[in-house]
Amino acid sequence: MTRTVLTVDDSRTMRDMLRMALSGAGFNVVEAVDGEHGLEVLSAHRPDVIITDINMPKLDGFGFIEAVRVDDDYRAIPILVLTTESDPSKKQRAREAGATGWIVKPFNPEKLVEAIRRVAA
C-alpha cells in the first residue's frame, strides 16, 4: 500500500524538494503551507507520516505538533521535524511537544527516506 506523507512547510521550494524526494521513493505526498493548514489537511488525508517545519506563520511547528498529539485520532502518527536549526534547544522543544524524530536540512533523499522508515510502521 502506498503510504501518504504530509509535508508542512511555508517554503514552496522546500515543499517541492520534499515532494520530489518522497514521490521519487514511492510515497504519496500531501502538502500544507502552515500549521493551521496542516491540521486541515490532516483530517482530509489521514497521512501515515508527517514532516513539519518549525518556523511558520499562523501556527508554528511546535504548536502544530502539540495539536496533533492531543487529538486522539492522530496522536499515533509519527511526526518528523524538519529544521536547519543546529540549536539543540529547538530540537528539544520539538521533542517535548511530541515530535517523533527530526531531519536536519539540507537533507538528501536517502536520509529523508531513512528517517521515515525509522518511524513509520
Binding site: R12, M14, A21, N55, P57, R75, G98, A99, P106
Partner: protein
C-alpha cells in the same frame, strides 16, 4: 526540464517574494507600523531563503543569509533592542541579500568585499567583540557537512526490495557462520526499557527492533513480567522490556544511532558480547520493579522469544540506501536519471501553472470572437430584424456572454502592479545615497491589477520617473531645511484605475520645475521659438521634448543617456501618455497612464470624410450638435465652441488627419467633447456617429508604421479596417497647426 532545475526556478521565484516580504517588513518596522509578528515574518523570510539555498548548495548565499538570520533571531527574541539604526542596517543587508540571490541565479555579481563588510557589520550587532569575523566560516561549516544536492537515482525507488533481499542475507549469514566458530566480537546485547514518553511521541519499540535487525540477525526477548493484570493496566504506561542479541559487523555507534530519536525516552544498555539472557533480565528487573513483590518464577520462563530475521520482508517496505552514504555524496553533480515516478500534484495544491503562450492564444481567439460577434450583429441589423425578435434577443445574449468571456480571459492575465512596485524601495535608497538626498518612498495601490503585458513595460518608465524625482525634484537636506521643509523628502508612487486605464503617479515634495530655466534652455537649444508665449503647463511639459536635459552636468543617476523624451516615446508606443504638473516650491507630479490591456478598447465609431474612425470612449466627455451661435472664430483659421461657461477649441478631425483640405461647417456634423491626458479639452468634429463598440486593437506600428494622430487600428464588424484616434496627439497636432505635406497620408484600407 530537469525536476531539480524546475524546483530551482520555483526557489528563485519564491526568493523574489520572500525578499519583497523582507523589505516590506523592514519598511514597516522603519515606519513604526510593525506588529509583533512582523519581526517573525522578516526572520522567516531570511530563514526560508537560507533553507532553500542550502538545498541547492548556494554557499555564498547561505553564509550571508546565516549571518543575517542570526541577527534577526536575536532581534525577535529580544536579545538586542530594535532601533532605527538597526533597521537601517537590516534594510541595507536585505539589498546585499538580494544581490546574493541574483548572483546565485546567474544575474550579476556580488561585491564580495561589500558583502563581507555587511556581514561583519551584522555580526557586530550580535557580538560586539566583532572579532568573530574570522571565526565565521568555521562556525558555519558544520551546517554543510554531509550536504548533498538532491539526486534521485533510478536505484532508489524500484529496486530496493530486490537489493535488500539479495544483499543482506548473503553477507550476514556467511559472517554469522564464521563468527560462530571464531570470536564473538560481533555479538552485542542491547537491552531496552521504554518509558511512556517514547510512545507518546509515536515511537515504536517494534520499529526499533526492525532497525536493529537491519544491522544483523537479532534475537529479541520480551520481558512482560512487570505487566499488571488488566484491571490495573494503564494503557498509556510502559511495562515491558526487551533484550536483544544482535550480531553485526558494525560498531556501537551504528547501534546507538538506531536509538537516536528515543534518546532519553528509554533506558538503553549496549554491551559487547553475549550476556546470558537471564542475567540481562535480572539486571533490568532491578530497575524495572520498585516493588520486589513480583513473580517468583525465573523471568526466562515467561518471556516469549521473538526471532526476527534481518531481511524481514514485512519490515523492509521502506527503501534501503542503495549505496553507502559516502558514495551517495559523490555523484551529486552527475545528472541523475529521472525518478521512476513523476510527481503528480497532490490534492492539496490549488494552483495551475499554464504556459503564457496558451493564454495569449486564448486572448487572441476571444478577440476574434468579439469581432465575429460584432459582424454577426451588424448583418442581422442589415436584414431589418426587429430588436424584440428571438433572433435579436439571442444575439444580445451572445454579446453579453462574449464580453464576459473576454473579461474572464483578460483576468487570467491580470496581475497586481506589486511585482514592479516592490523593486522600487531599493532603487529609491540607492538613488538617494548616490545623490546625497534623503528620500522616503510611499507606495499606494500596489494591488491595482493590470494586464501582464502592460506590467512588464511599466518598470522602465517608473524607474526613470523615480530617479528623476529624487535627482532633480528633491532638494538636498540642507536646502530643504533652509526652505523650512523636513530634510527627508517624500516620493509617492501610486497606481490606480481611472476610466478604463491604469494611472501611475510619481509625486515628489521637492522644489518643483524651475520654469524660467526650462524655458531658457528650450530657447537656447532651439527647441522652441523665443517669442512663443506658453502656459505654465506647456513649459513644464517641455522637458519631454527630444534633446532636452535640465541637469547642468550629467549626474550618475538620471542622465544615463535616456531623456524624458525617450520615456515619453516608449510610453506612447504602448498607447499611453505621460504628463507633468508642477508647483514651484511644492513639488512635481508625473502622471503616466496606460490602457489596462493592450488587447481591447471601448470606442465610439464615427464617420469623418467618408472614413470610419474609432475614438476611445475613455476620452469622450459628451457628444453634442453645435448651434451656429455657439461657434466663435478665433484667429485666421481656428474657431472655438462655447460649452456651457467655457470655450474649447474646435478641431476638425478630417482636416487634422489630412482627409480633406477644407472643413464643412461644424453645425452640419457632430461634436465630441474630449479630454486629453493633461485635462485639456477639445471639441472634435465628425460627420456622423455610428455608436459604441468594443474593438480589438491591432497594432499599426507592427503592421504598417507609426502615424501621428493614430493610436492603432481595428477590424470592424463588416470586415473593414478602421483607425483608432489618438486624441491627445490630435489635440497637440492642432496646437502646432496642420501637419506638413511630408507626413504620411492616411488611408484607411478598404
Amino acid at each position: 526540464m530537469d525536476e531539480l532545475e524546475a524546483i530551482k526556478v520555483t526557489f528563485f521565484q519564491e526568493c523574489e517574494e520572500l525578499l519583497a516580504d523582507l523589505e516590506g517588513g523592514l519598511l514597516a518596522m522603519q515606519d513604526g507600523n510593525d506588529d509583533g509578528d512582523t519581526v517573525n515574518a522578516v526572520f522567516r523570510a531570511v530563514h526560508s531563503i537560507k533553507g532553500g539555498a542550502g538545498a541547492f548548495g548556494l554557499e555564498p548565499l547561505v553564509r550571508f543569509a546565516h549571518v543575517f538570520e542570526t541577527l534577526l533571531d536575536a532581534l525577535r527574541s529580544n536579545e538586542i533592542p530594535g532601533t532605527a539604526d538597526l533597521t537601517a542596517v537590516l534594510l541595507r543587508a536585505s539589498d546585499v541579500l538580494a544581490d546574493h540571490v541574483s548572483a546565485a541565479r546567474g544575474l550579476g555579481m556580488v561585491d564580495m568585499d561589500a558583502s563581507a563588510a555587511m556581514a561583519a557589520e551584522l555580526k557586530a550587532w550580535t557580538d560586539p567583540s566583532a572579532a568573530a569575523v574570522a571565526a565565521a566560516p568555521v562556525e558555519d561549516a558544520p551546517e554543510f557537512e554531509g550536504f548533498t544536492p538532491i539526486v534521485i537515482s533510478g536505484d532508489d525507488g524500484m529496486d530496493d526490495d530486490d537489493l535488500g533481499f539479495d544483499f543482506q542475507p548473503m553477507t550476514i549469514s556467511l559472517d554469522a557462520q564464521a563468527a560462530d566458530v571464531a570470536v564473538l566480537d560481533n555479538v552485542w546485547t542491547v537491552s531496552i526499557r521504554p518509558k511512556s514518553d517514547l510512545y507518546r511521541k509515536a515511537n515504536e519499540t517494534g520499529l526499533l527492533l526492525r532497525e536493529l535487525a537491519r544491522l544483523g540477525p537479532i534475537q529479541a526477548t520480551l520481558d512482560d513480567s512487570a505487566l499488571p493484570t488488566l484491571e490495573f493496566l494503564d494503557a498509556e504506561a510502559a511495562y515491558v522490556t526487551w533484550s536483544v542479541r544482535l550480531e553485526t559487523e558494525q560498531g556501537e555507534e551504528a547501534i546507538r544511532e538506531v536509538f537516536e530519536f528515543v534518546d532519553g525516552d528509554c533506558e538503553l544498555e549496549i554491551t559487547r558480547g553475549e550476556a546470558p539472557v537471564a542475567d540481562v533480565l535480572a539486571s533490568l528487573m532491578e530497575v524495572a520493579l520498585p516493588e520486589p513483590a513480583a513473580p517468583v518464577e525465573a523471568p526466562i520462563a515467561v518471556a516469549p522469544v521473538a526471532e526476527v530475521a534481518p531481511p524481514a520482508p514485512v519490515a523492509v517496505s521502506a527503501p534501503v540506501p542503495a549505496t553507502p552514504p559516502v558514495a551517495a555524496n559523490a555523484p551529486a553533480a552527475a545528472p541523475a536519471a529521472k525518478p521512476a515516478q513523476i510527481e503528480v500534484p497532490g490534492p492539496g495544491q490549488s494552483v495551475i501553472r499554464v504556459d503564457p503562450e496558451r493564454i495569449d492564444r486564448l486572448i487572441d481567439l476571444v478577440g476574434e470572437l468579439v469581432i465575429n460577434q460584432a459582424m454577426l450583429a451588424q448583418r442581422v441589423g442589415e436584414y431589418g430584424i426587429a430588436p424584440s425578435s428571438n433572433l435579436a434577443m439571442g444575439l444580445d445574449e451572445l454579446e453579453q456572454l462574449t464580453r464576459e468571456i473576454q473579461d474572464s480571459v483578460m483576468a487570467i492575465r491580470a496581475q497586481p502592479v506589486k511585482s514592479v512596485f516592490q523593486r522600487m524601495p531599493r532603487l529609491v535608497r540607492e538613488v538617494a545615497n548616490m545623490t546625497g538626498k534623503q528620500a522616503r518612498l510611499v507606495m499606494d495601490g500596489e494591488n491595482t491589477e493590470v494586464d501582464k503585458t502592460v506590467i512588464e513595460r511599466l518598470a522602465d518608465p517608473i524607474t526613470h520617473m523615480l530617479r528623476n524625482a529624487i535627482d532633480h525634484g528633491l532638494e538636498s537636506p540642507e536646502e530643504r531645511k533652509a526652505a523650512g521643509k523636513n530634510p527627508e523628502g517624500v516620493v509617492r508612487l501610486a497606481a490606480l484605475h481611472r476610466s478604463g486605464r491604469i494611472v501611475i503617479e510619481v509625486q515628489d515634495d521637492g522644489r518643483g520645475i524651475n520654469r524660467e530655466r526650462v524655458l531658457s534652455i528650450a530657447v537656447k537649444k532651439g527647441l522652441i521659438s523665443p517669442d512663443l508665449t506658453l502656459t505654465d503647463e506647456e513649459i513644464d511639459n517641455l522637458i519631454f521634448l527630444p534633446g532636452f536635459s535640465t541637469a547642468d552636468k550629467i549626474s550618475d543617476v538620471s542622465g544615463r543617456g535616456v531623456g524624458m523624451d525617450v520615456v515619453k516615446r516608449s510610453v506612447q508606443a504602448l498607447g499611453g501618455r505621460i504628463s507633468i504638473a508642477s508647483r514651484p516650491g511644492l513639488g512635481s507630479t508625473f502622471t503616466l497612464s496606460l490602457p489596462l490591456t493592450l488587447a481591447v478598447l471601448d470606442g465610439m465609431v464615427v464617420d469623418v470624410a467618408g472614413e470610419t474612425l474609432v475614438i476611445p470612449l475613455a476620452c469622450i466627455v459628451e457628444s453634442l450638435r453645435p448651434k451656429a451661435e455657439e461657434i466663435r472664430p478665433l484667429g485666421p483659421t481656428g474657431s472655438v465652441l462655447a460649452v456651457r461657461d467655457s470655450f474649447v477649441p474646435l478641431i476638425d478631425v478630417g482636416l487634422t488627419l489630412n482627409y480633406r483640405s477644407k472643413s464643412p461647417p461644424p453645425t452640419e456634423g457632430v461634436v465630441l467633447l474630449v479630454e486629453g491626458e493633461d485635462g485639456s479639452r477639445a471639441a472634435l468634429v465628425a460627420d456622423a456617429i455610428h455608436g459604441q463598440r468594443q474593438v480589438v486593437i491591432k497594432s499599426l506600428e507592427q503592421n504598417y508604421q507609426q502615424v501621428e494622430g493614430v493610436a492603432a487600428a481595428t477590424i470592424l464588424g463588416d470586415g473593414r479596417v478602421a483607425l483608432i484616434l489618438d486624441v491627445d496627439a490630435v489635440i497637440n497636432l492642432r496646437r502646432r497647426g496642420p501637419p506638413s505635406p511630408s507626413d504620411p497620408t492616411l488611408i484607411a484600407a478598404e
